[in-house]
């Protein structure tokens, strides 16, 4: 589904991604973790071309990512993305947030888009909030709207960039629950998160990044019980300790 081969990327002089190789098969769930600044966000942002890579190959659903605008929009319509900061459109209602893409990019009729949106708002369990504005919702609800908004584009792959780290602690679970359900429904997922409970439950593969490299890649069992590298061990200690 996603094929990343020997990808390198620089921000000016700074080498953020170093020789990244990663494959995500259809229906596979991959969880990425690693210290701040290690390049996790950059990696997944390259997959739907919010950033462009300078070397190597990224292929999504058989389409290679290049500068070609047509391909980019083709790939974006296959790939949903959920951000740490939700990035809902504050001037639109929840429903309008969800229908904007289907109507303007997919060309759906208003009624169809609305039906579609309501379906997914039900899936994330907030159909009753459809006519509110984002600012009237709690953080957890906002993030669930963001997930619904992505799903409305009927993506084949979902990318999550620390979807719960801007949330109040008691709201984290409501979002993780929705994500778990989504995973169980067979969606291909690439997830940056430090919620290790969720990772254990859901992940097929764990990836640990540090300084722009993939340092470790393993099944969750091996990853948590017997991490190979010291860096990974250190990190897991820090993060699991408290």
């Amino acid at each position: 589904m996603i094929r990343i081969e020997a990808v390198n990327k620089w921000f000016d002089d700074f080498h953020v991604l170093k020789d990244i190789d990663l494959t995500v098969g259809a229906g596979e769930k991959v969880v990425v973790c690693g210290p701040s600044g290690s390049g996790k966000s950059t990696l997944i942002r390259c997959i739907n071309r919010l950033e462009s890579h300078e070397q190597g190959l990224i292929e999504v659903d058989g389409i290679e990512l290049t500068d070609d605008n047509k391909r980019i929009s083709e790939i974006r319509s296959e790939v949903g993305m959920v951000f740490q900061q939700f990035n809902l459109f504050p001037h639109l209602t929840v429903l309008e947030n969800c229908t904007l893409g289907p109507i303007r990019a997919r060309g759906l009729s208003k009624t169809d888009a609305r039906a579609l949106a309501m379906e997914f708002l039900e899936k994330v369990r907030i159909p009753e909030q459809a006519d509110k504005y984002p600012s009237q919702l709690s953080g957890g609800q906002q993030q669930r709207v963001a997930i619904a908004r992505s799903l409305c584009m009927r993506p084949k792959i979902m990318l999550f960039d620390e979807p719960t780290s801007a949330l109040d602690p008691e709201m984290i679970n409501e979002v993780l629950d929705v994500m778990t359900e989504l995973a169980e429904s067979g969606m291909t997922m690439l997830c940056v998160t430090h919620e290790m409970g969720f990772a254990r439950r859901v992940a097929d593969t764990m990836v640990f990044m540090d300084h722009g490299e993939i340092v470790e890649m393993a099944s969750p069992e091996t990853f948590f019980s017997t991490p190979k590298s010291d860096r990974c061990k250190d990190f897991l200690e820090k993060i699991l300790h408290h």
Partner: protein, 296 residues
């Protein structure tokens, strides 16, 4: 597709823009020769910058340079006075008490909505002509020693026009202060509330918080718009020609009329303004960079 995500590059838009720009320039050049009935003659201009004085035996500045000096002199003074007034007004506008806020608001709204010419007249003929004579500057200067007079003239221009200079200065400052007050207010409001709270939680008084925490941060945000305001001030200082101050645009006008070389004089004067304004913008730009060092 995402803004700022890519380096600037050369694309279709560039081609369109370039083509349009080149076409426009070409068209104008073509039409200048065929349509405009005017013989250009720039020869007189340099003489109005500097001229050789036979009596003194050296070069002396002529009208354009004198005008420029007057313009710069009044602009700098006005900026200083306006900054002080503007800061006070801006702080008043963010006050928690109603009265200062109201006064600040009324001042800003009044000044910003009234055209400059009536304001200048109102101020010069009705207010300052009552107040400034009370200062007795005229008679004080009559008795002043040549050295004092020299200093005064360096700071404020010709002695006989000092009252006009002061009035012009104050009215320019008052107009500018209204805009600076808004800039300062915005700067203060942009300092997050947490900064005040952190300040009071380490025991600083309100005044100390203003002085050591809020204003230093506000000033930094305020530098770019203040630079713009200063440039506006330099350009608007031509207004004081109405009250007999011989600044650059007024003298340029006089030369243009005397010489009957309207375009040359105005284009050249425009260039002089551009030079000082742009230099000013560059200087402020550097200041801004220096002040913003620690934010990078």
């Amino acid at each position: 597709m995402v803004r700022g995500s890519k380096k600037p590059r050369f694309g279709i838009l560039d081609v369109i823009v370039l083509a349009a720009a080149i076409a426009a320039v070409a068209y104008v050049t073509y039409r200048v020769d065929s349509v405009l009935v005017y013989t250009w003659d720039w020869s007189a201009i340099p003489g109005y910058l500097f001229r050789y004085d036979e009596d003194l035996g050296h070069w002396v500045p002529n009208l354009l340079i004198k005008g420029l000096i007057t313009t710069i002199r009044i602009s700098i003074w006005a900026l200083i006075v306006a900054s002080i007034m503007g800061t006070i007004l801006g702080v008043m506008r963010t006050s928690q008490r109603l009265l200062p806020r109201l006064i600040g608001w009324a001042y800003v709204e009044f000044i910003r909505n009234i055209p400059p010419v009536p304001f200048l007249f109102l101020f010069y003929f009705f207010i300052s002509s009552q107040i400034i004579p009370l200062l007795n500057i005229g008679s004080a200067l009559d008795q002043a020693s040549p050295a004092t007079l020299g200093v005064v003239e360096f700071l404020f221009g010709p002695a006989n026009l000092i009252e006009n200079f002061l009035s012009g200065l104050i009215s320019l400052s008052m107009m500018s202060a209204a805009y600076i007050a808004e800039i300062v207010r915005a700067g203060i409001l942009a300092v997050p509330k947490g900064q005040y709270e952190a300040g009071s939680s380490i025991g600083l008084s309100k005044l100390a918080i203003m002085r050591y925490i809020v204003l230093p941060q506000a000033i930094q945000r305020v530098v770019p718009p203040i630079a713009g305001q200063f440039i506006t001030l330099i350009k608007d200082s031509s207004l004081v020609a109405l009250i007999s101050i011989q600044e650059l645009s007024f003298l340029a006008m006089e030369i243009a009329i005397s010489e009957q070389r309207f375009f040359e004089v105005w284009l050249f004067t425009g260039l002089m303004y551009f030079t000082i304004c742009y230099a000013c913008a560059l200087a402020f730009g550097r200041l801004e960079k220096r002040m913003g060092r620690h934010l990078r």
